[in-house]
Protein backbone atom coordinates (compact mmCIF):
# COMPACT_ATOMS: atom_id res chain seq x y z
CA UNK A 1 0.00 0.00 0.00
CA UNK A 2 1.28 3.44 -0.85
CA UNK A 3 2.67 5.77 1.75
CA UNK A 4 1.85 9.40 2.00
CA UNK A 5 5.37 10.50 1.29
CA UNK A 6 4.62 14.20 1.67
CA UNK A 7 4.07 13.71 5.39
CA UNK A 8 7.33 13.44 7.31
CA UNK A 9 5.53 12.11 10.41
CA UNK A 10 3.63 9.62 8.34
CA UNK A 11 1.52 6.68 9.22
CA UNK A 12 0.88 3.51 7.29
CA UNK A 13 -2.34 4.86 5.85
CA UNK A 14 -2.99 7.12 2.97
CA UNK A 15 -5.80 9.51 3.53
CA UNK A 16 -7.61 11.39 6.21
CA UNK A 17 -10.68 9.15 6.39
CA UNK A 18 -8.73 5.92 6.54
CA UNK A 19 -6.51 7.53 9.11
CA UNK A 20 -9.48 7.81 11.40
CA UNK A 21 -10.04 4.06 11.21
CA UNK A 22 -6.62 2.74 12.04
CA UNK A 23 -4.46 5.65 13.10
CA UNK A 24 -4.40 8.57 15.44
CA UNK A 25 -5.00 12.19 14.62
CA UNK A 26 -1.98 14.19 13.53
CA UNK A 27 -2.09 16.03 16.84
CA UNK A 28 -1.96 12.83 18.88
CA UNK A 29 0.90 11.56 16.74
CA UNK A 30 2.95 14.69 17.34
CA UNK A 31 2.28 14.56 21.08
CA UNK A 32 3.30 10.90 21.34
CA UNK A 33 6.42 11.35 19.25
CA UNK A 34 7.26 14.41 21.32
CA UNK A 35 6.88 12.50 24.57
CA UNK A 36 8.99 9.62 23.30
CA UNK A 37 11.73 11.91 22.06
CA UNK A 38 11.77 13.88 25.33
CA UNK A 39 12.03 10.66 27.30
CA UNK A 40 14.90 9.28 25.24
CA UNK A 41 16.57 12.68 25.15
CA UNK A 42 16.33 13.19 28.89
CA UNK A 43 17.31 9.70 29.97
CA UNK A 44 19.65 8.50 27.24
CA UNK A 45 21.03 11.23 25.03
CA UNK A 46 21.74 13.83 27.70
CA UNK A 47 23.71 11.48 29.97
CA UNK A 48 25.72 10.39 26.96
CA UNK A 49 26.39 14.00 26.00
CA UNK A 50 27.36 14.80 29.58
CA UNK A 51 30.08 12.13 29.53
CA UNK A 52 31.78 13.68 26.51
CA UNK A 53 31.43 17.33 27.53
CA UNK A 54 32.67 16.70 31.06
CA UNK A 55 35.68 14.80 29.73
CA UNK A 56 36.55 17.70 27.43
CA UNK A 57 35.85 20.36 30.03
CA UNK A 58 39.50 21.38 30.22
CA UNK A 59 40.33 20.73 26.62
CA UNK A 60 41.67 17.82 24.67
CA UNK A 61 45.16 18.17 26.15
CA UNK A 62 44.18 17.21 29.65
CA UNK A 63 41.92 14.50 28.27
CA UNK A 64 44.87 12.86 26.54
CA UNK A 65 47.18 13.27 29.56
CA UNK A 66 44.67 11.39 31.70
CA UNK A 67 44.47 8.58 29.22
CA UNK A 68 48.26 8.34 29.15
CA UNK A 69 48.32 7.74 32.89
CA UNK A 70 49.89 4.34 33.77
CA UNK A 71 47.04 3.47 36.16
CA UNK A 72 44.48 4.10 33.46
CA UNK A 73 46.58 2.05 31.11
CA UNK A 74 46.70 -0.81 33.61
CA UNK A 75 42.91 -0.62 34.02
CA UNK A 76 42.40 -0.82 30.27
CA UNK A 77 44.72 -3.81 30.05
CA UNK A 78 42.96 -5.63 32.86
CA UNK A 79 39.53 -4.95 31.37
CA UNK A 80 40.63 -6.37 28.03
CA UNK A 81 42.24 -9.37 29.71
CA UNK A 82 39.08 -10.18 31.66
CA UNK A 83 36.95 -9.90 28.53
CA UNK A 84 39.35 -12.06 26.54
CA UNK A 85 39.02 -14.82 29.11
CA UNK A 86 35.35 -14.51 30.07
CA UNK A 87 33.78 -14.09 26.63
CA UNK A 88 35.24 -17.24 24.98
CA UNK A 89 34.35 -19.31 28.04
CA UNK A 90 30.75 -18.21 27.88
CA UNK A 91 30.78 -18.57 24.11
CA UNK A 92 31.65 -22.26 24.38
CA UNK A 93 29.13 -22.72 27.15
CA UNK A 94 26.45 -20.83 25.21
CA UNK A 95 26.86 -22.96 22.08
CA UNK A 96 26.83 -26.17 24.11
CA UNK A 97 23.75 -25.12 26.07
CA UNK A 98 21.91 -24.01 22.94
CA UNK A 99 22.78 -27.27 21.18
CA UNK A 100 21.45 -29.36 24.05
CA UNK A 101 18.33 -27.27 24.60
CA UNK A 102 17.36 -26.39 21.03
CA UNK A 103 18.10 -29.65 19.24
CA UNK A 104 16.81 -32.16 21.78
CA UNK A 105 13.70 -32.87 23.80
CA UNK A 106 14.44 -33.98 27.34
CA UNK A 107 12.98 -33.85 30.82
CA UNK A 108 13.66 -30.72 32.82
CA UNK A 109 14.51 -28.62 29.79
CA UNK A 110 12.35 -25.69 30.85
CA UNK A 111 13.93 -25.76 34.29
CA UNK A 112 17.43 -25.79 32.81
CA UNK A 113 16.54 -22.76 30.68
CA UNK A 114 15.36 -20.93 33.78
CA UNK A 115 18.60 -21.76 35.60
CA UNK A 116 20.63 -20.34 32.74
CA UNK A 117 18.73 -17.07 33.04
CA UNK A 118 19.34 -16.95 36.78
CA UNK A 119 22.27 -14.48 36.78
CA UNK A 120 19.97 -11.89 35.15
CA UNK A 121 17.86 -11.74 38.25
CA UNK A 122 20.71 -11.69 40.75
CA UNK A 123 22.06 -8.34 41.89
CA UNK A 124 25.63 -7.78 40.67
CA UNK A 125 26.66 -7.16 44.25
CA UNK A 126 25.37 -10.58 45.24
CA UNK A 127 27.18 -12.08 42.24
CA UNK A 128 30.38 -10.76 43.78
CA UNK A 129 29.41 -11.66 47.32
CA UNK A 130 28.93 -15.35 46.51
CA UNK A 131 32.59 -15.60 45.52
CA UNK A 132 33.70 -13.82 48.70
CA UNK A 133 31.72 -16.37 50.70
CA UNK A 134 33.22 -19.20 48.66
CA UNK A 135 36.87 -18.18 48.63
CA UNK A 136 37.18 -15.63 51.46
CA UNK A 137 39.27 -16.24 54.57
CA UNK A 138 36.12 -17.20 56.51
CA UNK A 139 35.06 -19.79 54.00
CA UNK A 140 35.68 -23.52 53.84
CA UNK A 141 38.05 -23.16 50.93
CA UNK A 142 39.75 -20.00 52.22
CA UNK A 143 42.35 -21.51 54.58
CA UNK A 144 43.24 -24.24 52.08
CA UNK A 145 43.74 -21.72 49.29
CA UNK A 146 45.83 -19.55 51.59
CA UNK A 147 48.10 -22.40 52.63
CA UNK A 148 48.73 -23.27 49.00
CA UNK A 149 49.39 -19.66 48.08
CA UNK A 150 46.48 -19.44 45.65
CA UNK A 151 45.07 -15.95 45.40
CA UNK A 152 41.57 -15.76 43.94
CA UNK A 153 39.90 -12.82 45.64
CA UNK A 154 41.30 -9.34 45.18
CA UNK A 155 43.12 -10.69 42.13
CA UNK A 156 42.49 -11.40 38.47
CA UNK A 157 40.90 -14.90 38.94
CA UNK A 158 38.21 -13.45 41.20
CA UNK A 159 37.44 -10.68 38.74
CA UNK A 160 37.23 -13.19 35.91
CA UNK A 161 34.95 -15.48 37.93
CA UNK A 162 32.58 -12.65 38.85
CA UNK A 163 32.51 -11.47 35.22
CA UNK A 164 31.81 -14.98 33.93
CA UNK A 165 28.97 -15.28 36.44
CA UNK A 166 27.38 -12.03 35.37
CA UNK A 167 27.75 -12.60 31.60
CA UNK A 168 26.85 -16.27 31.83
CA UNK A 169 23.46 -16.20 29.98
CA UNK A 170 24.21 -13.75 27.16
CA UNK A 171 25.35 -16.05 24.33
CA UNK A 172 23.06 -18.92 25.30
CA UNK A 173 19.93 -16.84 25.35
CA UNK A 174 20.62 -15.35 21.93
CA UNK A 175 21.25 -18.77 20.44
CA UNK A 176 18.50 -20.87 22.02
CA UNK A 177 15.49 -19.21 20.33
CA UNK A 178 17.39 -18.90 17.07
CA UNK A 179 18.37 -22.57 16.97
CA UNK A 180 14.90 -23.64 18.09
CA UNK A 181 13.38 -21.75 15.20
CA UNK A 182 15.78 -23.36 12.74
CA UNK A 183 14.86 -26.86 13.85
CA UNK A 184 16.89 -29.97 13.13
CA UNK A 185 16.15 -30.72 9.47
CA UNK A 186 19.40 -29.17 8.18
CA UNK A 187 21.45 -31.27 10.57
CA UNK A 188 19.48 -34.38 9.71
CA UNK A 189 20.10 -33.73 6.02
CA UNK A 190 23.85 -33.40 6.63
CA UNK A 191 23.95 -36.57 8.72
CA UNK A 192 22.02 -38.48 6.06
CA UNK A 193 24.66 -37.40 3.53
CA UNK A 194 27.31 -39.00 5.69
CA UNK A 195 28.71 -36.04 7.62
CA UNK A 196 30.11 -36.68 11.08
CA UNK A 197 28.78 -34.83 14.12
CA UNK A 198 31.57 -32.26 14.10
CA UNK A 199 31.36 -31.79 10.35
CA UNK A 200 27.63 -31.21 10.68
CA UNK A 201 28.17 -28.62 13.37
CA UNK A 202 31.01 -26.93 11.58
CA UNK A 203 29.61 -26.82 8.01
CA UNK A 204 25.86 -26.70 8.64
CA UNK A 205 24.92 -25.42 12.07
CA UNK A 206 27.61 -22.81 12.59
CA UNK A 207 27.03 -20.97 9.28
CA UNK A 208 23.33 -20.89 10.13
CA UNK A 209 23.85 -19.27 13.49
CA UNK A 210 26.99 -17.20 12.99
CA UNK A 211 25.32 -13.79 12.99
CA UNK A 212 23.18 -14.59 15.99
CA UNK A 213 26.33 -15.88 17.67
CA UNK A 214 28.22 -12.69 16.89
CA UNK A 215 25.31 -10.70 18.25
CA UNK A 216 25.40 -12.61 21.53
CA UNK A 217 29.18 -12.26 21.78
CA UNK A 218 28.83 -8.51 21.25
CA UNK A 219 26.37 -8.11 24.11
CA UNK A 220 28.38 -10.47 26.30
CA UNK A 221 31.53 -8.48 25.66
CA UNK A 222 29.88 -5.13 26.39
CA UNK A 223 28.68 -6.41 29.73
CA UNK A 224 32.02 -8.10 30.52
CA UNK A 225 33.96 -4.89 29.97
CA UNK A 226 31.43 -2.71 31.71
CA UNK A 227 30.54 -4.82 34.75
CA UNK A 228 30.87 -2.80 37.91
CA UNK A 229 29.02 -4.14 40.96
CA UNK A 230 30.23 -7.73 40.96
CA UNK A 231 33.79 -6.82 40.07
CA UNK A 232 33.83 -4.04 42.62
CA UNK A 233 33.04 -6.50 45.42
CA UNK A 234 35.74 -9.05 44.53
CA UNK A 235 38.51 -6.77 43.28
CA UNK A 236 39.70 -5.08 46.43
CA UNK A 237 40.32 -1.92 44.40
CA UNK A 238 44.07 -2.32 44.25
CA UNK A 239 45.32 0.44 42.00
CA UNK A 240 47.23 -0.58 38.95
CA UNK A 241 46.58 -4.24 39.77
CA UNK A 242 42.91 -5.09 40.20
CA UNK A 243 41.17 -2.03 38.89
CA UNK A 244 39.16 -2.46 35.75
CA UNK A 245 38.05 0.59 33.78
CA UNK A 246 34.66 0.96 35.48
CA UNK A 247 36.36 0.73 38.89
CA UNK A 248 38.93 3.28 37.80
CA UNK A 249 36.06 5.60 36.89
CA UNK A 250 34.63 5.24 40.37
CA UNK A 251 37.94 5.85 42.14
CA UNK A 252 38.75 8.93 40.09
CA UNK A 253 35.24 10.28 40.56
CA UNK A 254 35.32 9.77 44.31
CA UNK A 255 38.63 11.64 44.40
CA UNK A 256 36.86 14.58 42.75
CA UNK A 257 39.11 14.09 39.74
CA UNK A 258 36.10 14.56 37.48
CA UNK A 259 37.87 15.21 34.21
CA UNK A 260 39.92 12.05 34.59
CA UNK A 261 36.86 10.02 35.62
CA UNK A 262 34.93 11.22 32.60
CA UNK A 263 37.90 10.68 30.32
CA UNK A 264 37.98 6.98 31.23
CA UNK A 265 34.17 6.96 31.06
CA UNK A 266 34.45 8.29 27.51
CA UNK A 267 36.33 5.19 26.45
CA UNK A 268 33.61 3.00 27.95
CA UNK A 269 30.89 5.12 26.34
CA UNK A 270 32.63 4.75 22.98
CA UNK A 271 32.71 1.00 23.54
CA UNK A 272 28.97 1.13 24.18
CA UNK A 273 28.35 3.18 21.03
CA UNK A 274 30.44 0.85 18.89
CA UNK A 275 28.50 -2.06 20.35
CA UNK A 276 25.21 -0.34 19.49
CA UNK A 277 26.30 0.46 15.94
CA UNK A 278 27.47 -3.11 15.31
CA UNK A 279 24.29 -4.42 16.90
CA UNK A 280 22.11 -2.21 14.68
CA UNK A 281 24.08 -3.25 11.60
CA UNK A 282 23.63 -6.91 12.47
CA UNK A 283 19.93 -6.38 13.08
CA UNK A 284 19.53 -4.56 9.79
CA UNK A 285 21.48 -7.01 7.67
CA UNK A 286 20.50 -10.26 9.27
CA UNK A 287 17.17 -9.31 10.70
CA UNK A 288 15.53 -12.66 10.05
CA UNK A 289 18.30 -14.47 11.89
CA UNK A 290 18.30 -12.16 14.85
CA UNK A 291 14.56 -11.53 15.01
CA UNK A 292 14.08 -14.84 16.78
CA UNK A 293 16.29 -13.85 19.66
CA UNK A 294 15.07 -10.28 19.94
CA UNK A 295 11.78 -11.76 20.98
CA UNK A 296 13.59 -13.00 24.10
Amino acid sequence: MAHDSSDPIGHHGNSEMVASATSESRMARYVLIGLALCFVGLFVLMPLAAVFTEAMRNGAGEFLTVLGDPETFAAIRLTLLVAVIAVPLNLVFGVAAAWAIAKFEFKGKAFLTTLIDLPFSVSPVISGLVFILLFGSHSLLGPWLQSHGIQILFAVPGIVLATVFVTFPFVARELIPLMQEQGTSDEEAALSLGASGWQTFWYVTLPNIKWGLLYGVLLCNARAMGEFGAVSVVSGHIRGLTNTMPLQVEILYNEYNFVAAFAVATLLALLALVTLVLKSLLEMKFSEQIAASRRH
Binding site: I9, H11, A21, T22, I33, A36, F39, V40, F43, V44, L45, M46, P47, L48, A50, E54, V92, F93, A96, A97, W99, F104, F106, K107, L112, L115, D117, P119, F120, S121, V122, S123, P124, V125, I126, L129, V130, F131, I132, L133, G136, L161, F165, F168, E188, L191, T200, A222, G226, P246, Y253, A261, A265, L268, A269, A272, L276, V277, S280, H296
Partner: protein
Amino acid sequence: MTASTRKRWQFRQPSVIPGFGLALGVTLSWLILIILIPLSGLLWRSSALGWETFWAMATDQRTLNALRISFGTAFAAALVNVVFGVILAWVLVRYRFPGKRIIDAMVDLPFALPTAVAGIALTTLYAPNGWIGSLLTPLGIKIAFTPIGIVIALVFVGLPFVVRTVQPIMEEIDKEVEEAAATLGANRFQTISRVLLPGLTPAVLTGFALAFARGVGEYGSVIFIAGNLPYVSEIAPLLIVIRLEEFNYPAATAIAAVMLVISFAMLLVINMIQAWSRRRYGYGT
Protein backbone atom coordinates in the same frame (compact mmCIF):
# COMPACT_ATOMS: atom_id res chain seq x y z
CA MET B 1 4.44 -40.06 22.21
CA THR B 2 2.17 -40.52 25.19
CA ALA B 3 2.02 -44.22 24.48
CA SER B 4 5.79 -44.62 24.62
CA THR B 5 6.18 -42.48 27.74
CA ARG B 6 3.54 -44.55 29.41
CA LYS B 7 5.49 -47.67 28.60
CA ARG B 8 8.69 -46.50 30.19
CA TRP B 9 10.12 -43.28 31.50
CA GLN B 10 12.47 -41.65 29.06
CA PHE B 11 14.94 -38.92 29.94
CA ARG B 12 15.04 -37.74 26.36
CA GLN B 13 13.31 -38.49 23.13
CA PRO B 14 15.44 -40.43 20.69
CA SER B 15 17.12 -38.33 18.03
CA VAL B 16 19.66 -38.90 15.28
CA ILE B 17 21.45 -35.65 16.11
CA PRO B 18 24.71 -36.42 17.88
CA GLY B 19 26.41 -34.58 20.72
CA PHE B 20 23.67 -34.54 23.33
CA GLY B 21 25.86 -36.00 26.06
CA LEU B 22 28.78 -33.68 25.37
CA ALA B 23 26.62 -30.56 25.05
CA LEU B 24 24.55 -31.28 28.14
CA GLY B 25 27.67 -32.29 30.05
CA VAL B 26 29.46 -29.03 29.28
CA THR B 27 26.32 -27.07 30.06
CA LEU B 28 25.64 -28.72 33.38
CA SER B 29 29.24 -28.67 34.63
CA TRP B 30 29.64 -25.02 33.76
CA LEU B 31 26.25 -24.19 35.27
CA ILE B 32 27.02 -26.07 38.48
CA LEU B 33 30.54 -24.70 38.77
CA ILE B 34 29.86 -21.06 38.03
CA ILE B 35 26.28 -20.51 39.16
CA LEU B 36 24.90 -23.23 41.38
CA ILE B 37 27.81 -23.86 43.75
CA PRO B 38 28.39 -20.16 44.49
CA LEU B 39 24.67 -19.47 44.93
CA SER B 40 24.07 -22.48 47.13
CA GLY B 41 27.14 -21.39 49.10
CA LEU B 42 25.27 -18.19 49.87
CA LEU B 43 22.14 -20.04 50.94
CA TRP B 44 24.18 -22.51 53.01
CA ARG B 45 26.03 -19.69 54.75
CA SER B 46 22.80 -17.90 55.57
CA SER B 47 21.21 -21.07 56.91
CA ALA B 48 24.34 -21.62 59.02
CA LEU B 49 23.55 -18.34 60.74
CA GLY B 50 20.62 -19.94 62.50
CA TRP B 51 17.08 -18.67 62.16
CA GLU B 52 17.24 -16.18 65.03
CA THR B 53 20.46 -14.50 64.00
CA PHE B 54 19.25 -14.45 60.41
CA TRP B 55 15.91 -12.92 61.37
CA ALA B 56 17.58 -10.32 63.60
CA MET B 57 19.90 -9.27 60.79
CA ALA B 58 17.24 -9.30 58.10
CA THR B 59 14.88 -7.19 60.21
CA ASP B 60 17.46 -4.73 61.42
CA GLN B 61 15.97 -1.24 60.94
CA ARG B 62 18.70 -0.04 58.57
CA THR B 63 18.36 -3.24 56.52
CA LEU B 64 14.59 -2.92 56.37
CA ASN B 65 14.87 0.68 55.24
CA ALA B 66 17.44 -0.24 52.61
CA LEU B 67 15.20 -3.03 51.29
CA ARG B 68 12.20 -0.74 51.31
CA ILE B 69 14.10 1.92 49.37
CA SER B 70 15.44 -0.61 46.86
CA PHE B 71 12.06 -2.18 46.19
CA GLY B 72 10.13 1.10 46.37
CA THR B 73 12.34 3.01 43.96
CA ALA B 74 12.59 0.01 41.63
CA PHE B 75 8.79 -0.24 41.60
CA ALA B 76 8.36 3.46 40.86
CA ALA B 77 11.00 3.35 38.12
CA ALA B 78 9.41 0.27 36.55
CA LEU B 79 6.05 2.08 36.50
CA VAL B 80 7.58 5.08 34.75
CA ASN B 81 9.18 2.70 32.28
CA VAL B 82 5.87 0.98 31.60
CA VAL B 83 4.20 4.26 30.67
CA PHE B 84 7.01 5.68 28.58
CA GLY B 85 8.20 2.30 27.35
CA VAL B 86 4.80 1.57 25.81
CA ILE B 87 4.64 5.05 24.26
CA LEU B 88 8.19 4.70 22.94
CA ALA B 89 7.53 1.24 21.51
CA TRP B 90 4.31 2.51 19.89
CA VAL B 91 6.05 5.47 18.32
CA LEU B 92 8.89 3.27 17.04
CA VAL B 93 6.55 0.65 15.59
CA ARG B 94 3.84 2.90 14.16
CA TYR B 95 5.24 6.23 13.09
CA ARG B 96 7.91 7.44 10.74
CA PHE B 97 9.93 10.45 11.78
CA PRO B 98 13.42 11.78 11.23
CA GLY B 99 16.02 10.08 13.41
CA LYS B 100 13.82 7.10 14.19
CA ARG B 101 16.52 4.57 13.50
CA ILE B 102 18.94 6.32 15.85
CA ILE B 103 16.35 6.52 18.61
CA ASP B 104 15.60 2.84 18.14
CA ALA B 105 19.28 1.96 18.50
CA MET B 106 19.69 4.32 21.47
CA VAL B 107 17.02 2.47 23.44
CA ASP B 108 19.63 -0.23 24.01
CA LEU B 109 22.23 2.19 25.36
CA PRO B 110 21.44 1.32 28.99
CA PHE B 111 22.26 -2.31 28.17
CA ALA B 112 25.57 -1.37 26.61
CA LEU B 113 26.75 1.54 28.73
CA PRO B 114 28.61 0.46 31.88
CA THR B 115 26.52 1.32 34.91
CA ALA B 116 29.28 3.31 36.57
CA VAL B 117 29.45 5.61 33.57
CA ALA B 118 25.69 6.05 33.61
CA GLY B 119 25.90 6.77 37.33
CA ILE B 120 28.41 9.59 37.12
CA ALA B 121 26.75 11.04 34.01
CA LEU B 122 23.30 11.17 35.62
CA THR B 123 24.77 12.61 38.83
CA THR B 124 26.47 15.36 36.84
CA LEU B 125 23.19 16.19 35.09
CA TYR B 126 20.97 16.17 38.15
CA ALA B 127 23.36 17.61 40.76
CA PRO B 128 22.26 21.07 41.95
CA ASN B 129 24.82 22.68 39.61
CA GLY B 130 24.23 20.26 36.72
CA TRP B 131 22.46 20.93 33.40
CA ILE B 132 19.09 19.73 34.64
CA GLY B 133 19.63 20.11 38.39
CA SER B 134 20.36 23.82 38.06
CA LEU B 135 17.00 24.31 36.33
CA LEU B 136 15.14 22.51 39.10
CA THR B 137 16.96 23.93 42.15
CA PRO B 138 15.25 27.36 41.89
CA LEU B 139 11.91 25.51 41.92
CA GLY B 140 12.93 23.82 45.16
CA ILE B 141 13.19 20.42 43.54
CA LYS B 142 16.14 18.34 44.58
CA ILE B 143 16.86 15.16 42.65
CA ALA B 144 20.44 14.07 43.10
CA PHE B 145 21.24 12.68 46.55
CA THR B 146 17.56 11.88 47.24
CA PRO B 147 15.40 8.82 46.54
CA ILE B 148 14.14 10.63 43.40
CA GLY B 149 17.70 10.42 42.11
CA ILE B 150 17.61 6.67 42.65
CA VAL B 151 14.40 6.44 40.65
CA ILE B 152 16.00 8.45 37.82
CA ALA B 153 18.97 6.07 37.69
CA LEU B 154 16.69 3.03 37.73
CA VAL B 155 14.51 4.47 34.97
CA PHE B 156 17.65 4.72 32.86
CA VAL B 157 18.72 1.19 33.67
CA GLY B 158 15.30 -0.36 33.09
CA LEU B 159 14.37 1.62 29.99
CA PRO B 160 15.11 -1.07 27.40
CA PHE B 161 13.18 -3.83 29.14
CA VAL B 162 9.61 -2.69 28.57
CA VAL B 163 10.35 -1.32 25.10
CA ARG B 164 12.06 -4.48 23.94
CA THR B 165 9.45 -6.87 25.30
CA VAL B 166 6.49 -4.87 24.01
CA GLN B 167 7.91 -3.86 20.61
CA PRO B 168 7.94 -7.27 18.90
CA ILE B 169 4.41 -8.02 20.10
CA MET B 170 3.23 -4.65 18.82
CA GLU B 171 4.85 -5.31 15.46
CA GLU B 172 2.81 -8.47 15.15
CA ILE B 173 -0.54 -6.79 15.75
CA ASP B 174 -2.64 -7.62 12.74
CA LYS B 175 -3.95 -4.48 11.08
CA GLU B 176 -7.20 -6.36 10.50
CA VAL B 177 -7.79 -6.41 14.27
CA GLU B 178 -7.81 -2.63 14.41
CA GLU B 179 -10.03 -2.44 11.36
CA ALA B 180 -12.35 -4.99 12.95
CA ALA B 181 -12.71 -2.79 16.03
CA ALA B 182 -13.40 0.22 13.80
CA THR B 183 -16.06 -1.59 11.77
CA LEU B 184 -17.78 -2.48 15.04
CA GLY B 185 -18.00 1.22 15.82
CA ALA B 186 -15.02 1.68 18.15
CA ASN B 187 -13.33 5.05 17.94
CA ARG B 188 -9.56 5.24 17.97
CA PHE B 189 -9.33 5.67 21.71
CA GLN B 190 -11.59 2.67 22.34
CA THR B 191 -9.61 0.58 19.85
CA ILE B 192 -6.36 1.36 21.63
CA SER B 193 -7.60 1.13 25.20
CA ARG B 194 -9.91 -1.89 24.84
CA VAL B 195 -8.37 -3.92 22.05
CA LEU B 196 -4.70 -3.13 21.54
CA LEU B 197 -3.42 -2.44 25.04
CA PRO B 198 -5.18 -5.38 26.73
CA GLY B 199 -3.62 -7.62 24.10
CA LEU B 200 -0.23 -6.29 25.16
CA THR B 201 -0.79 -6.89 28.87
CA PRO B 202 1.34 -10.04 29.17
CA ALA B 203 4.25 -8.37 27.42
CA VAL B 204 3.88 -5.22 29.51
CA LEU B 205 3.78 -7.26 32.73
CA THR B 206 6.87 -9.18 31.70
CA GLY B 207 8.70 -5.98 30.82
CA PHE B 208 7.64 -4.46 34.11
CA ALA B 209 8.86 -7.47 36.08
CA LEU B 210 12.19 -7.50 34.24
CA ALA B 211 12.76 -3.77 34.80
CA PHE B 212 11.71 -4.12 38.43
CA ALA B 213 14.03 -7.08 39.06
CA ARG B 214 16.90 -5.28 37.43
CA GLY B 215 16.19 -2.14 39.44
CA VAL B 216 16.11 -3.95 42.76
CA GLY B 217 19.60 -5.35 42.25
CA GLU B 218 21.12 -2.34 40.54
CA TYR B 219 24.23 -0.90 42.14
CA GLY B 220 26.63 0.94 39.84
CA SER B 221 24.37 3.61 38.42
CA VAL B 222 22.66 4.31 41.75
CA ILE B 223 25.46 4.78 44.25
CA PHE B 224 26.74 7.99 42.69
CA ILE B 225 23.39 9.77 42.46
CA ALA B 226 21.79 8.40 45.63
CA GLY B 227 23.81 10.26 48.23
CA ASN B 228 23.71 7.05 50.24
CA LEU B 229 22.26 8.45 53.44
CA PRO B 230 21.48 5.55 55.78
CA TYR B 231 17.71 5.12 56.33
CA VAL B 232 16.95 7.64 53.54
CA SER B 233 18.72 6.90 50.28
CA GLU B 234 20.76 3.82 50.99
CA ILE B 235 19.90 0.87 48.74
CA ALA B 236 20.17 -2.76 49.80
CA PRO B 237 23.05 -3.73 47.45
CA LEU B 238 25.07 -0.83 48.85
CA LEU B 239 24.34 -1.97 52.39
CA ILE B 240 25.72 -5.41 51.46
CA VAL B 241 28.93 -3.76 50.28
CA ILE B 242 29.13 -1.67 53.45
CA ARG B 243 28.67 -4.75 55.65
CA LEU B 244 31.35 -6.53 53.65
CA GLU B 245 33.75 -3.67 54.13
CA GLU B 246 33.03 -3.91 57.87
CA PHE B 247 33.81 -7.65 57.57
CA ASN B 248 30.30 -8.24 58.88
CA TYR B 249 29.79 -11.23 56.59
CA PRO B 250 26.70 -12.64 58.36
CA ALA B 251 24.79 -9.38 57.88
CA ALA B 252 25.83 -9.13 54.23
CA THR B 253 24.79 -12.74 53.72
CA ALA B 254 21.41 -12.22 55.35
CA ILE B 255 20.53 -9.19 53.24
CA ALA B 256 21.70 -11.00 50.11
CA ALA B 257 19.60 -14.05 50.96
CA VAL B 258 16.48 -11.95 51.42
CA MET B 259 17.06 -10.20 48.10
CA LEU B 260 17.80 -13.46 46.34
CA VAL B 261 14.61 -15.11 47.56
CA ILE B 262 12.53 -12.15 46.39
CA SER B 263 14.32 -12.13 43.02
CA PHE B 264 13.64 -15.82 42.52
CA ALA B 265 10.02 -15.29 43.39
CA MET B 266 9.88 -12.61 40.71
CA LEU B 267 11.53 -14.88 38.18
CA LEU B 268 8.85 -17.43 38.97
CA VAL B 269 6.15 -14.80 38.49
CA ILE B 270 7.57 -13.82 35.08
CA ASN B 271 7.58 -17.45 33.97
CA MET B 272 4.05 -17.89 35.20
CA ILE B 273 2.81 -14.82 33.34
CA GLN B 274 4.31 -16.17 30.15
CA ALA B 275 2.97 -19.69 30.60
CA TRP B 276 -0.47 -18.33 31.47
CA SER B 277 -0.48 -16.03 28.48
CA ARG B 278 0.58 -18.80 26.12
CA ARG B 279 -2.03 -21.16 27.45
CA ARG B 280 -4.84 -18.69 27.28
CA TYR B 281 -4.18 -16.47 24.29
CA GLY B 282 -1.94 -18.75 22.32
CA TYR B 283 1.02 -16.37 22.38
CA GLY B 284 3.79 -15.72 24.85
CA THR B 285 6.20 -12.85 25.28
